[in-house]
Symmetry: C2
Subunit: 84 residues, 2 copies
Amino acid sequence: MPRIVVDVMPKPEILDPQGKAIAGALPRLGLTGFTGVRQGKRFELTVDGDVTEEVLEQARTAAATLLSNPVIEDVTRVEVIPEA
Amino acid sequence: MPRIVVDVMPKPEILDPQGKAIAGALPRLGLTGFTGVRQGKRFELTVDGDVTEEVLEQARTAAATLLSNPVIEDVTRVEVIPEA
């Protein structure tokens, strides 16, 4: 069944303590090629049937209201992914 | 600066209570086009300089050891994203 992926990331100006913790741990593992890490969320919505414009609009509504907090997060992607 | 994105999703056979909770909330918002939701994580690693094969290998190591728990999660993507 087709799936819609929604990516949600903390806004650039918002502190991201989880990302900071990961960025601090990387050098301790010998992984020194990175200057920063941001942690966000990725959702996969399984669609019942075809992905119509109406379903995509529902996914955008869900992304903006239920899946993200618009005060601190940005929805960076709402997109159909090819079937596996 | 270039960024590497790492996507981590719960394994298909693993229960995903956050996804289940979202799937239960969608119909209450009138969003009835979906049969299931899975919630995973999305990381953006900022690279200091060019993305060499060595840096990508470091990102794969980080994804497999620090960013995911291989018992319950799959790394579904380690990829350079174009500069904004």
